[in-house]
Subunit: 415 residues, 2 copies
């Protein structure tokens, strides 16, 4: 798998653009658009939150009832969540504006309909979006749509909220003798604890694949990638992953779980693993990526629960921030996860680019140097490994440290 | 119910003392002792964490296998958790030291045995306790044992760790024509998310009551008090509630669920509700008590889950710190609790000493003044009320805001 290029315009036939639409903020990009020259199969996974943002409902209709799409428009000022019927009307009007503008510009060979336009939002919950600004933003973006890498970069910037860096990836893989590309961008920094879905992530591919297999591949991959990320334990109302496939790579269409499907899934997993790690390491206020691997658990589900319990523990996260090898908090977080185990059997390690130390075994502290542990914990990427010695279950979760800056960002996010 | 006096020495026959034993810190009280002139029935609830501190196992043996006790000794320097066999040996030696010292001082009419001594610890996980310092602390405390209110105050100070205030309560209630007293003290500020038990809480009463009914009353009461408190979502390895009853009030012994039992339970509930609120409002770094009441839920269990989801939401807690009426985060936290509901049916209010505003109804923001909401959120005790309009389920949970100080305390707790 090759990954030297990035972004949603990497696959053939995809264009992107961004605009300053002034939805909430001035003087920053706050709208992005992805457009495919050819009709796409579309797959999606969405938040399990009972409070679903209007665009989540809009996109669920398109993914579940239509299965095809041509474009995504996204704004990063207002989440359009908890906005009632007015919020749904906003989605419809936004999609109409995009479809009309694309048709007027003759961008699409065949007429684009409202049901071809996916809509995504992120930002403040509860405010209504000024639809006229969405329409104006769309008008600005249509002439800018470009297959360049630069346009993908601008789009990735435009979907950021409290993110400090844009997050893009790209992979190319041989499938059936053809080079298939997958590109992606995502945003996410706070309110991050995805469940069967995630923050906003937009993936494009030129693979030829049926909608059924596309959805199957995406649903399988999110479980071990986005769903294993937690910044703050709060599962958002807007979490959305969209994957568009326009078939322009020319490979034989993937319609069953054959070797081509496996190759596609492996590439899709890798791209989403990278995006998930980028989200964790750019968690609000974070100074370090915190990775937790649990192995030797009774089964996979137990490993997932244990790893997530540690990666979401406020006390453990604060200790990582303080470069403090407070393994007691890790043991404590394993202990309250709701999984039965014998603490005396557990082994714990801390590892990073600076080295590896075993910190716990036989029911109490291992013989390690605090100085060495502190050095290990001072790296920008830190991993805790727990071996439960119960079975073959293994899982990895990603999070970040809990910092003063997290509190500052969220004490006055709306101000 | 009268509550003008406080502390564990309020009930007849109980004495307390404190000492600077130098377990971990210098120049502060770090050991406390409670002693009853008469033998006590004892009830207890303990952490559900798989990693149980040695004193939890010690006390479980006494409560479950013996059911009687004479004294509690507690240190607040080292938790004696994840300390293996050496930690268990420490408990036994501590109890032996206390029993021997009490017998030598002729404090007890009948000889005190090791199995009469409850042991509790709080502080750093993983370190071993220097047992000789415990023995020396016990020797210091025996001559100081006193039924005075002042000695109870000193004991309450001595069990503090990151607590900023000692936490004591007292209640007197008429049972069967006799005045029964219940006193209590507790500590808890971080690693607070009790489950079927809690932090350290020591309760004394002179009620005459069978061990079976004493345990039944305590187990019933913790569900709606300590188990509804969360400072940081981390369930400690040491959570322990102990309730000692020496029968010296002279009431007819309570041996069944009669009106005397009901009166006792009501008083016990009130005392524990007050202690639970004290713990929440003194949460590490907290500037405000945050109370969440969910009503109209489908059933009690759903109400508990919903209320806890809001009270533990990092984003909601940060918004409370920022005095920001960010009801979107409350709706979001209700939404990811795992309980099905229709967001359009939910009503939300914020209330405090400064007033009450409805902030959400009919699926979107209610018509309220941000200025008024900010004024309400600037009080030291703030309540959010959610009416789910599904049924009769109701529950109240207590927590606190998430502040810079919480991060500071926990980034270098061990330093």
């Amino acid at each position: 798998m090759s990954t030297n290029k990035t972004g949603v315009t990497l696959p053939a036939g995809f264009k992107a653009a961004a605009a300053q639409a002034g939805i909430k903020y001035q003087n920053r990009l706050d709208m992005a658009m992805i457009y495919s020259e050819a009709p796409c199969k579309v797959a999606g996974t969405f938040t399990t939150n009972q409070v679903k943002a209007a665009p989540v409902k809009w996109d669920q209709h398109i993914v579940y009832d239509c299965g095809t799409a041509r474009a995504v428009i996204c704004n990063s000022g207002i989440a359009n969540a908890a906005t009632g019927q007015e919020g749904m009307d906003c989605c419809r009007k936004s999609a109409e504006a995009a479809a009309n503008a694309l048709n007027a510009a003759n961008e699409a060979a065949a007429p684009v309909t409202t049901d071809d336009i996916l809509v995504a939002s992120t930002g403040v919950i509860g405010m209504q979006i000024p639809v006229d600004k969405i329409s104006a933003g769309v008008e600005m973006m249509i002439p800018e749509l470009s297959p360049s890498e630069e346009s993908a970069h601008l789009a990735a910037q435009a979907i950021m909220t409290t993110d400090t860096v844009p997050k893009e990836v790209g992979i190319q893989v041989e499938i059936g003798g053809k080079t298939v590309s997958i590109g992606g961008m995502c945003k996410g920094s706070g309110m991050i604890h995805p469940n069967m879905c995630t923050m906003l992530s937009f993936l494009t591919t030129d693979a030829a694949i049926s909608q059924e297999m596309l959805q199957k591949a995406l649903s399988a991959v999110v479980v071990d990638t986005y769903n294993m990320v937690s910044v703050d334990g709060d599962t958002s109302t807007n979490d959305t992953v969209l994957l568009l496939a326009n078939g322009m790579a020319g490979n034989d269409e993937i319609t069953e779980e054959n070797t081509d499907y496996q190759a596609f899934c492996e590439a899709l997993f890798e791209i989403n693993r990278q995006l998930a790690r980028k989200i964790a390491s750019d968690g609000e206020g974070a100074t370090a990526l915190f990775e937790v691997t649990v192995k030797g658990a009774a089964d996979k589900a137990s490993a997932v629960t244990l790893a997530k319990s540690v990666v979401t523990s406020s006390l453990t996260k604060a200790a990582i921030y303080g470069h403090d090898a407070n393994w007691g908090r890790i043991m404590c977080a394993l202990g309250y996860a709701g999984i039965e185990f014998d603490p005396d059997q557990v082994e714990l390690w801390l590892t990073s680019a600076a080295g590896t130390v075993k910190i716990f075994e036989n029911g109490s502290a291992a013989d390690y140097s605090e100085e060495e542990a502190t050095k290990i914990l001072s790296e920008p990427e830190v991993t805790a490994i727990a071996d439960m010695h119960q079975g073959d279950g293994e899982a990895t979760a990603w999070g970040c440290d809990l910092t003063h800056e997290y509190v500052s960002i969220n004490a006055d996010y709306r101000s």
